[in-house]
Symmetry: C2
Subunit: 578 residues, 2 copies
Amino acid sequence: MTRLFNDPAAFVDEATEGFVAAHAWRVRQVPGGVIRSTKSEPDTVAVVIGGGSGHYPAFAGLVGQGLAHGAAMGNLFASPSAQQIYSVAKAANNGAGVLLSYGNYAGDVLHFGQARDRLVSEGIPCEMVKVIDDVSSASLEEINKRRGIAGDLTVFKIASAAAEAGYTLDEVVRVTEAANLRTRSFGVAFDGCTLPGADDALFHVPEGKMAVGLGIHGEPGISEQEIPSADELAELLVGRLLEELPEGVERANGARASVLLNGLGTIKYEELFVVYRRVNRLLEEAGVRIVEPEVGELVTSLDMAGASLTLFWLDEELERFWHAPADAPAYRKGSVATAEQIDAAELDIPDPDAIPPASEESRQSAGRVLAAIEATREVIVENAEELGRIDAVAGDGDHGIGMERGARAAAETARDAAERGAGAGTLLRMAGDAWADRAGGTSGAIWGAALNALAATIGDETAPDAATIARGVEKARDNIMHFGKAQVGDKTLIDVLVPFSETLTEQVNRQASLPDAWGTAVERAHEAAQATADLTPRIGRARPLAEKSIGTPDAGAISLAMIVRAVHDVLQEQASNG
Amino acid sequence: MTRLFNDPAAFVDEATEGFVAAHAWRVRQVPGGVIRSTKSEPDTVAVVIGGGSGHYPAFAGLVGQGLAHGAAMGNLFASPSAQQIYSVAKAANNGAGVLLSYGNYAGDVLHFGQARDRLVSEGIPCEMVKVIDDVSSASLEEINKRRGIAGDLTVFKIASAAAEAGYTLDEVVRVTEAANLRTRSFGVAFDGCTLPGADDALFHVPEGKMAVGLGIHGEPGISEQEIPSADELAELLVGRLLEELPEGVERANGARASVLLNGLGTIKYEELFVVYRRVNRLLEEAGVRIVEPEVGELVTSLDMAGASLTLFWLDEELERFWHAPADAPAYRKGSVATAEQIDAAELDIPDPDAIPPASEESRQSAGRVLAAIEATREVIVENAEELGRIDAVAGDGDHGIGMERGARAAAETARDAAERGAGAGTLLRMAGDAWADRAGGTSGAIWGAALNALAATIGDETAPDAATIARGVEKARDNIMHFGKAQVGDKTLIDVLVPFSETLTEQVNRQASLPDAWGTAVERAHEAAQATADLTPRIGRARPLAEKSIGTPDAGAISLAMIVRAVHDVLQEQASNG
């Protein structure tokens, strides 16, 4: 269990401060995370990694010469927000574009994607590689659905060494994708970890049992069995990984690979070495040439009891980059060239509170948007308790609290932005970021993403017409469906959002006014929400949360229906006031 | 708990094999432990460290360029034997002498001392520095009684950097002792660790409590309290260490120090960083200039839940050596120069089975010594169960088993040595090493030390007369008392050994024959053993084992009395046979 903390809510901020103090000559803190404290070659690609906190050395421990240029650091086991990632990437940028790399989890995919959009819109070339090494999380046919676990390290290391070598962004992407497809991991768990201040572990494995393929946040695994001997575990892990050689590696015999044996927290060094003894022998028997292996704690989950094995199949280029020197807080090899410390004054640290210029029209629109956001806050605050109650039937009961926190933060931020002259797009973006940051969880990510999609469509130049707003809602819907992977019928807010968006677009195409179109869409939304809610007592939770499905089932649908109705009232009032 | 192992008895050997396989380009295995796999400058001092296993990265993880030249690796939490240390030191020796450095625990003191004697007797200059950083284990007045904990790292690092810089052995000792006296640590524990295959942890701290100053093997601490917040823990640790500035550091304000915040196994990185945040602020407030701190797992105890803070107060020379580059499996900083791999054929690896030349007389004596050792085995095997029963009253009940394993191994080794023409001294030394290796525990260390002291006194040149044997017994007694710190009356085998040795010397000085003198001494020994044993039911265990006092109380005294009587029978028989 996690024993040492002050205020659990401040845990990540305080850990970050301590981490930076301990490694001041390698990293420095910027809004959203950390970057190298050393200068990089100008006009080279910057590699920015990130993910939830609690996985040290991932992610901040892997920032430094020869490794990543920056890491965006989310809350414990929660994706960093798009704003955090964007901000770290801006500070890390060396002029030749940014590669974002992160483990394949829904929240990370969503937020890194948004950050990328924002960077590209500002003219910073940006590409993404999501790590998919965990063979137990999806079949080979669905390799793109696999999670990222300890293979983060090999992918980040190769990307960074390629950037350090002066590769262009396209070349960095090519070699990073090659590393990603040639990295395969398989893990087991014996017990979960406890978040600071929590009463119990995130999950448990029954005493004396081992969960095979269980995810590092407790995502379901493949099977459960008795705890094997160290040798049997080695055989299980090596056997599974040798079954699945990546494309380009025809047979294990004679192939070159690096090997990572990773402890997740409380499986300690001596135990790992006992397991590695057998791993090493088995791979040698299979004819694999082992190159610079690593045995230790590379990607953890606080004090989770678990271990994973990673094989990273090399080609000549990958092997060269794997050998390349690195000097990060938690990963050092070879001799790096001495580098100057950066000058903080030269950093491009975006001020998240800065208001970009906007047209007069757009600033007037911003006032209307603010009214809609304030109406949203009112309806959520009024119904927070009821939403919690609904959520408790099928979900974990925190939907009301999360929505209330998010909506309050969004309204407060929006009012401040309006007072400081923000256009409608900027106001929506800042409100969305505030919502995501303060609400946390999946609903925070969804609402953050929705408002950001609207913001990007509306912009700060013109007053949005009905068609633009309908397009913005479509974009929000597409984003959420793309990243969250929920479909209509999964009993999530998608069940409401899809008919709402369809109707809105349809009505606008028929030249209906915005208030009228919106009103018709609200009716459809409420029918859909009702249908969804009615199912709850009969079929229970729609999709297990552990699958990181989208939204809090049905309570999310209901809160969306409430919000669009509240917004309708505002639109009507605004129309009648001229 | 420790979950991953095969045969618990093979745990350390298997972990060592895995460790060496994972770090083959930095370390190589030799009998007794590991040495660097890279060549060192000729005619430089070799730093050889060591201690029990289960503390990774201590000790083997700290072998490599810029750090130690070799590590002797004992069983889990048990000192390496003198033979192991000697063997590693011979292989690591670069021609300018050897510094042995280790934590201050009775078994380590005993065995490193013996190894040093053997190296010196072979003309290899050898000095020792025992680490004494743990302020909670003894008062400042008794600083030499303090234990070594995470301060191992600073002391080893300085010694190694000085050796690397070409310092002579005397200079290395000077700077290492300075580092030792300027390193102060203070630790806390929340729960103990479980040895592989054991049913329960070595010790427990009550749920929700924190033991202050508890030793890493469960040795008693200062007090117990509620688990504090991270900030309160930082205040406790920093406060205690600032109370006690070492000589040469007049005040904290303006002084330069490195800081180690060490996790012992399951207190994880993020927690340590939260604590370090406050440590850093407190030290800055006190005016301490922090130099290259380390936050992580530096000296562990398997999966023990605990943490310690170390302050290492620098002067100019120490700071230079602290900054010096290092490239060990678990500790890397800066850029080390590329070094060639060693040629295994050039290593001086002593063959523990080699029989040095001996005089004909000494070889005949060896036959008599063999008979005495075989008689010892007989009496122990016959009484093993009874000794276990006696030990169970006051100790942990394993005295009989340990003595039986040791005596059997000693007799077997002695017979083999005699058959291969060993002199009496060599035969005793090999028997003593075998006893220590196989018996383990404190009684193994004691009997190994006793036979080694006799061996060194007797040698391989002449047949020992009564006076030589009496001197050998005195030497054995002095060794055991010096290293074990027990006195007559502590209810250990010292209660028997002291009167036995005194009487033997007295009788020999009066010109009594060896059998007669020995016989009189045996009578005194039995009186003393009886007196010791009688006390047991009334006063219970004499000294807590956790203090690493010498011997298993009273069962050790009784087995010694049995052995000297059995040897007396052999002496009489030999005398009557001529």
